[in-house]
């Protein structure tokens, strides 16, 4: 079968793969030089695939015999946290985020992973009473702190007033951002930033809702704020 001639365009796959080579360490044998043939290209992309599947640190360790360093970085670190009122003695790798600890290790899947880069607010939890993004928090750095998640705000079967208000005002559609919205909304009222619709919009801007339930979320927050009860 005749091989299809591929006209290189700016966004062709080859081009992108070649750009990938920029990221290789200088001493790597798979450095890219322009005008290499297809054979070299395949060699490089094979290397890249291997790189992609091996954990970066393992590749580095193999290169530089950093076994000792590798071992210590793989060690789990002991960690004591109070989560929703219960003390937990845990062990985590340093790279585990608070979000992943909650969801993967503790099965507290109410806290959502939206973007995982601090842009959407779906992972909002309270640490020592303040709202933070759990996706940008290392679990190990929270040692000794009190964490409250969406699972920890109801009193038994009685919903938190903010949960009630979200239901009453239809403050969600798909519901994915809702746990983060509610945790953020509770903090917004506690902080005293729920004085007007504009102020609420400003102080809730870190929580993105793809369904566009914003007006109803603002309604829910205003009701809770005006209710004047303990939030």
């Amino acid at each position: 079968m005749k091989k299809k001639e591929k006209k290189p365009t700016e966004d062709s796959r080859e081009e992108r793969e070649c750009r990938n080579v920029y990221m290789l360490p200088e001493k790597s044998e798979a450095t890219y030089t322009p005008n290499d043939g297809r054979r070299d290209f395949l060699k490089q992309s094979g290397f890249l695939t291997a790189m992609a599947f091996a954990p970066a640190i393992a590749v580095k360790a193999a290169e530089q015999q950093w076994d000792e360093k590798l071992a210590s970085s793989l060690e789990k670190v002991p960690l004591k946290l109070e989560i929703n009122g219960r003390m937990k003695n845990l062990k985590v790798e340093p790279r585990v985020t608070l979000l992943d600890l909650l969801r993967e290790q503790l099965d507290l899947t109410g806290t959502k992973k939206g973007c995982d880069y601090g842009q959407c607010g779906a992972c909002t939890v309270h640490v020592n009473g303040e709202r933070v993004l759990s996706c940008l928090s290392l679990a190990v750095m929270q040692d000794g702190k009190k964490i409250t998640t969406i699972e920890g705000i109801a009193e038994g079967e009685t919903l938190h007033p903010m949960q009630d208000a979200f239901i009453k005002h239809d403050g969600f559609q798909c519901g994915y951002c809702t746990p983060g919205q509610i945790m953020s909304a509770i903090a917004c009222v506690r902080e005293g930033h729920a004085g007007s619709r504009d102020e609420i919009r400003e102080y809730m801007s870190g929580n993105i809702c793809r369904c566009g339930a914003y007006p109803n979320i603002v309604d829910a927050i205003i009701e809770v704020k005006n209710g004047g009860g303990r939030v």
Binding site: R19, S73, V77, R95, G118, L138, A187, C188, Y203, G206
Partner: protein, 326 residues
């Protein structure tokens, strides 16, 4: 995210020596930008030195001639602090214009200053970027450069600094205290960040192993301040253009003016000539327009950010009007 070692330190000195000992280590405090960069593989430290619990480094105190703000003070705490609100309200305005409530609850003053550019070429590992991978080229130069610099750029890099807080600190002539292996030193805020030149991978003039310990704001007589930020959405977005204004006005005459811009250069962009043009003038539309014109001397746009050549002077005039109330 690749694996790394984790070490918590409780002393400034221990932090510096740990950092010096391990060349591939980094300090972590709030982590709001560092973890983002680590997840994307843009920076890959082999060791994180957690400085967030060093005692005394988060305090905001009155000192002779000004306010001292510890490098670990959280952005929210600074923006709500009575001393700051009473004496340096411009700083609070700028901080509150940045990020979200959650991020301001996590981010520290030192970390805010050290955050990296949000240039999309820096963030996309498939594209060339001299800041991320020196020598690979600047993708933005002939690429999508709508968000990019109009001042102080080089052939190597046209990215902008993302911090709002730093724009106010530049206008207010803050100083940065750093502690390093050879002792402590003070850096004027205007000299803390650098222009890209031929080394865009270096954002600041911090030395090897140096740790920011505090920022000091000198007392001033500014009685009219404003921070104007123009962005793609009403909140929670980086600046297209921002302007920090501090004016000392008496009987409608400007005694002293300070102006700095964000979103236009690799560092917060101080407008000294424009400031000088305002001194002694009546606060008026014409003196503000004149200052804006002076401020724009030397500005140069790229294919997609030509709008900034109009937006920036308009923003300067608007910010001066809002500050002075005319």
């Amino acid at each position: 995210m690749i694996q790394f070692q984790y070490q918590r330190v409780n002393l400034e000195k221990a932090a510096v020596s740990a950092r010096v000992k391990d060349k591939n280590s980094m300090f972590i405090a709030g982590g709001t930008n560092l973890l983002d960069l680590m997840k994307r593989g843009i920076v890959s430290p082999e060791k994180l030195i957690d400085i967030s619990r060093i005692p005394g480094m988060a305090e905001i105190t009155a000192v002779e001639g000004g306010i001292r703000i510890g490098a670990l003070a959280l952005n929210t705490k600074v923006a709500e602090d009575k001393l700051v609100l009473g004496r340096q309200p411009l700083l609070a305005l700028a901080i509150n214009a940045g990020a979200s409530a959650q991020i301001r609850n996590m981010a520290t003053v030192g970390g805010n200053m050290l955050q990296r550019t949000r240039c999309s070429y820096f963030y996309d590992k498939l594209l060339p970027c001299n800041k991320r991978e020196p020598g690979s080229g600047c993708g933005a130069l002939d690429g999508f450069n709508r968000m990019h610099a109009i001042f102080g750029f080089s052939e190597q890099c046209i990215a902008v600094h993302p911090s709002d807080m730093s724009v106010a600190l530049t206008a207010l002539e803050a100083t940065v205290r750093v502690s390093g292996p050879n002792g402590s030193r003070t850096i004027p805020f205007g000299d803390f960040h650098r222009l890209p030149g031929t080394k865009p991978e270096v954002d600041t003039n911090l030395g090897n192993g140096e740790l920011i310990t505090y920022v000091e704001l000198p007392d001033s007589s500014f009685n009219h301040v404003h921070y104007l930020k123009i962005r793609d959405r009403a909140s929670y977005a980086f600046a297209l253009v921002s302007v920090a204004v501090a004016l000392h006005i008496e009987n409608n005459t400007i005694k002293e003016a300070r102006l700095a811009m964000g979103g236009v250069a690799h560092k917060p962009w101080r407008l000294k000539e424009a400031e000088a043009s305002l001194a002694g003038k009546i606060a008026s539309d014409s003196s503000f327009k004149q200052a804006a014109k002076i401020a724009m001397a030397g500005a140069k746009a790229f294919k997609h950010n030509e709008y900034k050549l109009r937006m920036a002077p308009n923003a300067i005039v608007q910010a001066l009007k809002s500050a002075s109330g005319i």
